[in-house]
C-alpha cells in the first residue's frame, strides 16, 4: 500500500515543483538535480513533460478567457439594442420585452428556482445514499450501490428528459391534483392545476435525480475520510451509530457536503435538454409548482428552444443570457471552492509531519480534486490506530470495496 502511495505522489511532486519554478529551468528540483545530473537522458523527458503540463494549464485558461470574451462580444449588440423598436427583436420569442434585462431577469429566476427545488430534493437523498454507502451498508452492497450511483451519471440527459415526459409527468399528476385541491391556498401550489403534467415540479424532480451522482460520490469520499479515531472515540463514549455520525462524521464533512451540494447546484443550473423537454415554460417570475403555464423558464433550456429560429440579434440576446448563466455558474463554483478550501486545507496542514513530501504538491491541487484529497487521506490513514471492531464503523477494506 505504501509503495503504491509513494509512486502516486511522486509525479505531482515534480509537476508541482516545476509549476512554481517554471522560469528557473536548471534548478527545478534541487534534491534530484544532483542525482540525475549524470543521466542526461532524463532531461528531455523532464522538459517535455513540464512543457506539456504547463501548456495544458495555460491552454485551459486561454479557452476559458476565449469563451468569456466570445460571450461578451456577441452579447453586446443585443444588450445595447432598443428592443421595442428593433425589427429583429420585436418579433417572435423576444417580442414582449422592452430590453435585455427584462428578458433575462425572469430567466435567471427560473434557472435558480428550478435548481433550488432540485437541490431541496436531491441533496438530502444524495447525502443519505452517501452515508449509507460509507457507514451503514454491508461491504458487498456498498460497492454495488456506489457503482450504480456512478452509473447514473452516465445516463444522457435526453434520456432523463424522455423518462420525465413518459413516466414522471403522468406519475405526478394525481399529486398535483391533490396539492391543488387541498393546499391551493399556499402560493406555490396555487393556480390552475396542470393536466399534461409538464410542471416545474416534474422538471426539478428529474433534475434532482440527475444531480444525485455528483452529490453522492463527493459526499461519500468525504465521509470515508472521517478519522477512524473520532468515530471510535464517539462509539466508545456510548454513542449510537447515528450519534456517532452526527458528532464525528458530520462536523468533519460539513464543508465537503456544502461543496458537493454546490457542485450539484452547478450541474442543475446548466441542465438543458431534460428541462426543455419536460417543463412547459413561460418567461415570467413565478413560484408556482404545479401549473401548466406559469413555470419559469431556465436560461439553458430557453437557448436550446429558441436558437434554431432566432434572428441575428435574437441569437445575440440568447448568447447574452448564456453570459449571465456563465457568471452565475462562476459564482456558484467559486463559492464551492472557497468553502471546500476552508477546512480540509487546515486539516492537511496538521498532517504535514506525517508525509514530508506530500503537503507541497497536494496543497496546490485544485480544491475540487477529491481524488487527491482521498489519496492524501489514504496516506494518513495508514497510520490510523483503529482496528476493525465488532460493531465499529466500516473497516478499511470496506472503504476500498465501496470505492470499486
Amino acid at each position: 500500500m505504501s509503495d503504491k502511495i509513494s509512486v502516486q505522489s511522486a509525479p505531482p511532486s515534480s509537476a508541482g515543483g516545476s509549476g512554481s519554478t517554471s522560469t528557473k529551468t536548471p534548478g527545478g528540483s534541487p534534491q534530484n538535480a544532483a542525482a540525475s545530473r549524470g543521466g542526461t537522458r532524463v532531461r528531455p523527458g523532464d522538459f517535455i513533460f513540464r512543457f506539456l503540463s504547463t501548456g495544458s494549464a495555460v491552454l485551459i485558461m486561454i479557452i476559458l478567457a476565449g469563451v468569456a470574451l466570445f460571450l461578451i462580444i456577441s452579447a453586446i449588440p443585443a444588450i445595447t439594442a432598443d428592443w421595442g423598436s428593433n425589427d429583429q427583436l420585436n418579433t417572435g420569442p423576444t417580442a414582449a420585452f422592452p430590453n435585455f434585462w427584462a428578458y433575462v431577469g425572469p430567466l435567471i429566476w427560473g434557472t435558480l428556482w428550478s435548481a433550488a427545488i432540485a437541490l431541496l430534493f436531491g441533496a438530502p437523498i444524495g447525502i443519505g445514499i452517501a452515508l449509507f454507502i460509507s457507514h451503514y451498508a454491508p461491504r458487498r452492497l456498498a460497492s454495488v450501490l456506489g457503482y450504480l450511483v456512478d452509473l447514473l451519471a452516465a445516463v444522457p440527459s435526453i434520456v432523463f428528459g424522455l423518462w420525465g415526459i413518459i413516466v414522471i409527468r403522468p406519475f405526478l399528476i394525481p399529486l398535483s391534483d391533490w396539492l391543488g385541491a387541498n393546499l391551493g391556498w399556499i402560493p406555490i401550489f396555487g393556480g390552475p392545476v396542470t393536466t399534461t403534467g409538464s410542471t416545474i415540479l416534474a422538471g426539478a424532480l428529474v433534475l434532482a435525480v440527475m444531480i444525485l451522482p455528483i452529490i453522492t460520490s463527493i459526499s461519500r469520499e468525504i465521509f470515508l475520510q472521517t478519522p477512524r479515531l473520532h468515530e471510535e472515540a464517539a462509539l466508545a463514549l456510548g454513542a449510537t451509530r447515528w450519534e456517532m455520525i452526527r458528532m464525528s462524521v458530520f462536523p468533519y464533512a460539513k464543508s465537503g457536503i456544502v461543496s458537493a451540494t454546490l457542485l450539484g447546484l452547478g450541474r442543475a443550473l446548466g441542465e438543458t435538454m431534460a428541462i426543455a423537454l419536460i417543463i412547459s415554460p413561460a418567461i415570467l417570475v413565478s413560484v408556482k409548482l404545479i401549473t401548466e403555464g406559469q413555470n419559469s423558464q431556465t436560461i439553458a433550456a430557453n437557448i436550446a428552444l429558441n436558437f434554431p429560429i432566432a434572428t441575428t440579434l435574437q441569437r445575440d440576446a440568447l448568447i447574452g443570457t448564456g453570459l449571465m448563466l456563465f457568471v452565475i455558474s462562476l459564482v456558484v463554483n467559486s463559492i464551492a471552492r472557497i468553502i471546500v478550501n476552508g477546512k480540509p486545507l487546515g486539516r492537511k496542514k496538521k498532517s504535514t509531519p506525517a508525509g514530508p513530501r506530500t503537503p507541497g504538491p497536494l496543497s496546490r491541487v485544485p480544491a475540487g480534486d477529491f481524488a487527491s484529497a482521498t489519496a492524501l487521506d489514504v496516506v494518513s490513514g495508514s497510520s490510523r490506530a483503529g482496528k476493525p471492531g465488532d460493531e465499529g464503523p466500516t473497516p478499511e477494506e470496506d472503504i476500498e470495496g465501496a470505492r470499486y
Binding site: 415526459i165 393536466t195 399534461t196 403534467g197 426543455a276 428552444l305 429558441n306 434554431p308 429560429i309 441575428t312
Partner: protein, 361 residues
C-alpha cells in the same frame, strides 16, 4: 430509368382517387424535368427545417437510386432559422426553411449569392392538424372562429356553446380545455398563427409569430412530437402539429374538412400566390380567406428549399440543380407523399420551380 420510377411511384401511390391528375402529373414531369445525369459525383451539404426532414430522407434515397455518385447530407437539427443562417454563412448548398427569407435575410443573401440574390423554391406541402384528446369524443369538428377562441383561451370548457354549435348531436363533457403549443420556435407555429390572424382577425388578436404568442394556461412542449405526446397523455387537451407527424392522435376536422393530401394540394392551388423577392423567386403567400370550400384544407403548410442564383462553385450548382430538380419533379413529390405523408405541390407550381431552377448557375 426515370420513367420507370415514375410509373412505379404512380402505380403504388395511395391516393387512388387522384389517379387522373397523378398520371398527367407524371407526364408533365417527364416533359419538364430532364432525366437525371447519373454520372454526377460529389457531396451536397444542406440543412434546416425539421418538417422537411422525413421528405428529405425519402428524396435522398430515391435520388441515390439513380445518381449513385452524389452524397446528400441534410441536417435537420438546425431548424429553419439555423439552416438559413448556415446557408447565409456559406456552409450549405441549400437551406430547408418553413418560411421564405425575411427582408434582412434577402439583403444578406445578396452578399452571399451575388446580385441575383436567392431563390425560395416551394417544394414541400403539408397541413397543420388540430389534434385533441377528449374522452368519449371520437369525432370533432371546429370552425375557424372556434379554433381561434380555443387557442386564445376565450373558451375554456369543452361544452362551450361555440363548440356545441360546431358539433350538432355530439355530447360534450364539461372538461376544462388545455391548449398545447410549441415551446420552441417553429414554422408550424408561424403557419398556424398566420392562419388564425388572417382567418379570424376579430377573435385572434395576437400577432402572427414563430413563437407561440399566448400566455396563460398553455402547455408548451418542445417539438411537434412533444405536442403530440402531451395531447395524447392529457385529458381535455388540444394542440396543433404538422399532419405528417401526428401519428395515432385524433385530428379534428376544420370547417368539416378533413385533412387529405388532395385537400392540401387543392388548398395550395386555390390560395397560394407568388410574391417574389427577386427575379425567379417563388415565395408564396397563402390567402386563407379563400380556403372555405369543402374540398380545400384550411391550413396548408408550405416549406422551401432556398438556393443562391449564382453558386460560388459551378460544380456545386450542378449538383444542387440536379437534386432539387428531382425534388421538384412530380416523381419526387410522389416519393415524399408516399414516404413522408406530405402533399404534392401542384404541377403548375412545380413547372415554375423547375424554370427558376434552370436559371441557377
Amino acid at each position: 430509368m426515370a420513367a420507370a420510377l415514375a410509373l412505379s411511384a404512380c402505380s403504388s401511390s395511395s391516393t387512388g382517387t387522384a389517379s387522373t391528375s397523378a398520371a398527367t402529373g407524371a407526364a408533365s414531369a417527364a416533359a419538364t424535368s430532364a432525366p437525371l445525369d447519373a454520372s454526377l459525383t460529389g457531396t451536397i451539404t444542406a440543412g434546416g427545417s425539421s418538417a422537411q426532414a422525413n421528405a428529405e430522407t425519402a428524396w435522398i434515397t430515391a435520388y441515390n437510386a439513380q445518381v449513385k455518385g452524389v452524397t446528400v447530407n441534410y441536417d435537420k437539427s438546425q431548424g429553419s432559422g439555423g439552416g438559413v443562417t448556415n446557408w447565409l454563412a456559406g456552409s450549405y448548398d441549400f437551406a430547408g426553411s418553413d418560411s421564405p427569407l425575411k427582408p434582412d435575410q434577402v439583403t444578406a443573401a445578396a452578399a452571399q449569392c451575388g446580385a441575383g440574390g436567392a431563390l425560395n423554391l416551394p417544394v414541400y406541402l403539408d397541413g397543420v392538424a388540430i389534434i385533441y384528446k377528449l374522452d368519449g369524443v371520437t369525432k370533432l369538428n371546429l370552425s375557424t372562429e372556434t379554433i381561434a377562441k380555443i387557442f386564445s383561451l376565450a373558451i375554456t370548457t369543452w361544452n362551450d356553446p361555440a363548440i356545441v354549435a360546431d358539433n350538432p348531436g355530439v355530447t360534450l363533457p364539461a372538461t376544462p380545455i388545455t391548449t398545447v403549443a410549441r415551446s420552441d420556435g417553429s414554422g408550424t407555429t408561424q403557419t398556424f398563427t398566420n392562419f388564425l390572424s388572417q382567418a379570424a382577425p376579430s377573435t385572434w388578436t395576437f400577432p402572427a409569430s414563430n413563437a407561440w404568442p399566448v400566455t396563460g394556461n398553455v402547455s408548451s412542449q418542445k417539438g411537434g412530437s412533444g405536442v403530440v405526446q402531451a395531447v395524447g397523455a392529457g385529458s381535455g387537451t388540444i394542440g396543433y402539429a404538422d399532419h405528417s407527424a401526428i401519428g395515432d392522435a385524433t385530428a379534428a376536422t376544420i370547417n368539416k374538412v378533413e385533412f387529405s393530401q388532395d385537400a392540401a394540394t387543392a388548398a395550395f392551388a386555390a390560395a397560394a400566390t407568388t410574391v417574389p423577392t427577386g427575379t425567379g423567386d417563388l415565395s408564396q403567400k397563402i390567402d386563407y380567406s379563400k380556403l372555405t370550400g369543402a374540398d380545400v384544407y384550411p391550413i396548408p403548410l408550405v416549406s422551401y428549399q432556398i438556393v443562391c442564383t449564382t453558386f460560388k462553385d459551378a460544380k456545386q450548382a450542378e449538383l444542387a440543380k440536379s437534386f432539387i430538380g428531382f425534388v421538384a419533379s412530380s416523381v419526387g413529390q410522389k416519393v415524399a407523399a408516399k414516404n413522408a405523408g406530405s402533399a404534392p405541390i401542384p404541377d403548375a407550381t412545380l413547372t415554375e420551380v423547375l424554370a427558376s431552377l434552370a436559371t441557377v448557375k
